[in-house]
């Protein structure tokens, strides 16, 4: 029974399982026919050796890229939450910028949370970062005592469920060397070591932005209802801290920064994010680029285990040939470095051969004549 499948070992496992399912109840000969046909089609769909996939991918992006609108914003459900899309985002993605211009995290919630409006709201409120200036009315200096006095807004604090003792404890913990006291709604903050006046002023600015509650860097939080469940959008890529929040479904929650994903979930996940983000941009522009081109790009960017952009410092710097590297931005740097260490260029790739006007090793230029010649025949020819 299994022998018939072994005969067509080129068919991938998933397809094979599908065929097995579909051909149930067929007799052996017609099943073989099906397998033969699938095997043939599979071979046909394979890319031929010597196909210039890199250039074809570049052209597949380049042509629709000319029709792209430069900078587009997309609103994720709510108007105040905008997301850069369009060519800018695509460039940002493929250049592998460390942080996106509009970071966004899509928080999915666990069972028991995702349909409960009150619980969702509570989680959203706990995620949003609250700074000291958000819950206080006034920052003033008391120069006689050499301290800063902060008048807290009790109404605001009540709404956000923050107590004075919490504020004091958080401040003591986050800003060291401070003497923080609460005096009936007024914080008296004094540096333990006596500082200059400008130091005190700097401390005041620092205090204004001291985090009291929530996840660091989260400025906006918006819960959105999507098909019977609530999803929380927030403008951050601080996934690490969000995972710590209770009720967050770590298996589904994502962010649009592949670097964060690579750190937290591994390079394969980062590759997936690059693909998803690129597909999203292209779809949004009403364009159609085959996903395999995008997958190929993502593979090239991630195959070393770290994310490398398609830039002169990224994957292009890893080209073997000096001439190929020199032909793409900063040629002097590459030629100088190559000459210092006496680099050898074996002219194995495309661009070097174009420069020398030799047939490029692609397509019809790839196959070589292989023939064993007698030693003296070769010598005789040279003479």
């Amino acid at each position: 029974m299994s022998s018939i499948y072994e005969e067509f070992s080129n068919i991938p496992e998933s397809s094979m399982n599908e065929i097995k399912e579909l051909t149930k109840g067929m007799d052996q000969s017609s099943r073989k026919k099906v397998l033969k046909r699938v095997s043939e089609e599979y071979e046909k769909a394979k890319i031929n050796p010597g196909e210039a996939i890199g250039i074809i991918t570049a052209e597949s992006f380049g042509e629709p890229g000319t029709q792209m609108i430069l900078r587009v914003f997309h609103f994720a459900g709510v108007a105040e939450m905008s997301l850069t899309l369009g060519l800018t985002r695509l460039i940002e993605l493929f250049d592998a910028r460390k942080s996106p211009s509009t970071p966004l995290t899509k928080i999915y919630l666990k069972h028991g949370y995702k349909t409960d409006v009150d619980k969702v709201k509570a989680i959203a409120a706990s995620i949003k970062e609250t700074k000291l200036k958000d819950i206080s009315d006034e920052f003033s200096f008391n120069l006689t005592q050499f301290r800063i006095e902060v008048l807290l807004n009790k109404k605001e604090m009540k709404e956000l469920k923050i107590t004075e003792t919490h504020v004091v404890n958080v401040l003591k913990e986050s800003l060291k060397d401070l003497d923080v006291k609460d005096d009936n709604g007024t914080l008296r903050i004094k540096p333990k070591e006596k500082d200059s006046l400008s130091g005190l002023y700097k401390l005041k600015e620092k205090l204004k932005y001291a985090a009291i509650k929530g996840v660091k860097g989260v400025e906006q939080v918006t819960p959105v209802k999507q098909e019977n469940e609530y999803i929380i959008y927030c403008t951050t890529d601080n996934l690490k801290d969000i995972f710590k929040v209770e009720g967050v479904d770590e298996t589904k929650t994502t962010t649009n920064n592949p670097f964060v994903i690579a750190d937290l979930l591994g390079i394969e996940a980062a590759r997936k994010i690059i693909i998803d983000e690129a597909v999203e941009v292209i779809k949004n522009q009403g364009l159609d680029i085959d996903i395999r081109h995008i997958m190929f790009l993502a593979d090239v960017m991630t195959n070393t285990g770290v994310i490398k952009g398609i830039t002169r410092t990224g994957i292009t710097s890893e080209k073997e040939s000096v001439l190929a590297r020199a032909s793409f931005e900063t040629p002097i740097k590459h030629i100088v470095n190559a000459s210092l260490i006496g680099e050898v260029d074996n002219l194995n790739s495309v661009i070097e051969n174009v420069m020398l006007n030799q047939p490029v090793p692609l397509g019809t230029g790839l196959p070589d004549l292989v023939a064993t010649m007698k030693e003296d025949a070769v010598k005789g020819k040279k003479k």
Partner: protein
Amino acid sequence: MFDVYLNEKFVGNVENIDGFVKDVKEKRRTSKFHPDMSIYHNEEFNEVYINTTKGRSIRLLVRVEDGKSLMTKECVDKLVNNEITWDSLIKEGILEYLDASEEENALVALDENELTKDHTHMEISSIAILGLLLSLIPYSNYGSSSRLIRGNKIQKQSLGLYSSNFHSRMDTDVSILHYPQRPLVKSFMHDVLNYDKHPAGQNVVIAIMSYKGYNMEDAIVVNKGSVQRGFARSTFFRPYLTEEMRYSGGLVDEISIPDKEVKGYKSETDYRLLEDDGIVYTGAKVNQEDVIIGKTSPPRFLGELEEFSVAASTRRETSTTVKYGENGIVDTIIITENEDGNKIVQVKMRDNRIAEIGDKFASRHGQKGVIGMLVPHEDMPFTASGITPDLIFSPHGIPSRMTISHLLEALAGKVSALKGLQVDSTTFDVYPEEKLRDELEKFGFKDNGTEIMYNGITGERYEVRIFVGNMYYLKLEHMVANKLHARAYGRIQLLTRQPVEGRGKGGGLRLGEMEKDCFIAHGASLLLKERFDSDRTVLPISEKSGLVAIHDIRKNKSTCPLYGENVEVNNVEISYAFKLLLDELKALCIYPKLELKSKY
């Protein structure tokens, strides 16, 4: 206290800003201040700006008070009867000049019907909001603005009678249209401009239909019979100029037939058209690269003098030749002197241009296109009354561009041709469409301008009625004869040995970076190599040093620049540009060593 600025400089403060502005304006209106001066009250910052500088564009408007124009019928009558002058109206404050900043404080009405109590000014005529060329477009209030702007631009490129003394002028790159006509559909502006004295187009019968696909993508099909009868013929003029320069040391240029000893002497046939004075004769038929003014110049560096004994042989050939790709007949020759007292020779060449496939034409509505096909008169479709259109315009050009004015012109043109009168279609004051339809019906035509037509080749009747009308068409200055270019071999650059660039020099057409990528994407490796073979060179490479060796053809011996003779040298075929790169690396003290390996 409000700040007052005079010509962007702070001059002082005023207490009552509105009173101050009003006062200044009043003084200007009563000629106490110059009418060019402007005053602008910035209401946002409560500052007053007074400007008297030059370079501000100012506009003349009629003043309005209490919703009534100060330009009364009385005034107009007096003006018509020459009792008062335009200037006196400005002096009296009936008309007023506003600059861009003062316009901010004004509310300008388009015409008298629009006036309200709030208005401060009114346009002299509603057409004044349009520019000169835009007001020449008939029915432009029925067109879309983007197309009108294009129509505007196109009119500047049209050929016509640009100047009646063109014979004695030496303008570069000009053409004169043969048999220019007054437009059947004109606007008020045509009269103002004396357009009848210098028209720039011709009236043609157009049919809006498709013709075998030869008018797709904005192309037009033109009746060959019309062209043979003189439609869209023009003469192209090209002047050439040479100056007999004087140099230091008493050396001078000489306009004459160059001596055979001269450096860079062409050939006797090249100079065949020159008369004894070294200049061509009028009426000579000249082709590209023919010499039309023979000239020799002294050597560029004095040092060259000593090398040769014969003085003539050191002179350089600097004759003027007909430009690449051009030919024609010598029209005018002018010999004169310039302000430095140097002799100047100007030769004007003329070329008759008959409309051909690729020449650009346009109507006045931004509807431009090139001739896609010239159809013999007998093959053109004809109407029931026997009219054959001069031009067939594609219907696909209409819906997306919404140039209704184009269609209305054709309709009005038809009425005009039937009536024998020009139709006035001044913007905002057009001859109404209903009237056009009524009149067409009276002449026995369908009121929508369509007619029954027959296929010119088979004689069959077309199932649909076809829109036929008369339009004013412009021949534009972009003619294929000035643009056509192809090259197989020719001049190359000295440095890279690649073909030179540009049509004027007979250059190549570059196969660029993206085209290269296309060849690679197709895997057409050897085709790519062949395309880039323009600077192919065979270099002897020394095996030992990896450098380019020196090959002596006479002795058939190669020498390595590092190890001398008796080294193994092999020939390698590469692009010259790469050899140049190697040389430049050597100049940077980098040793590019080529390691040769047998391919097989």
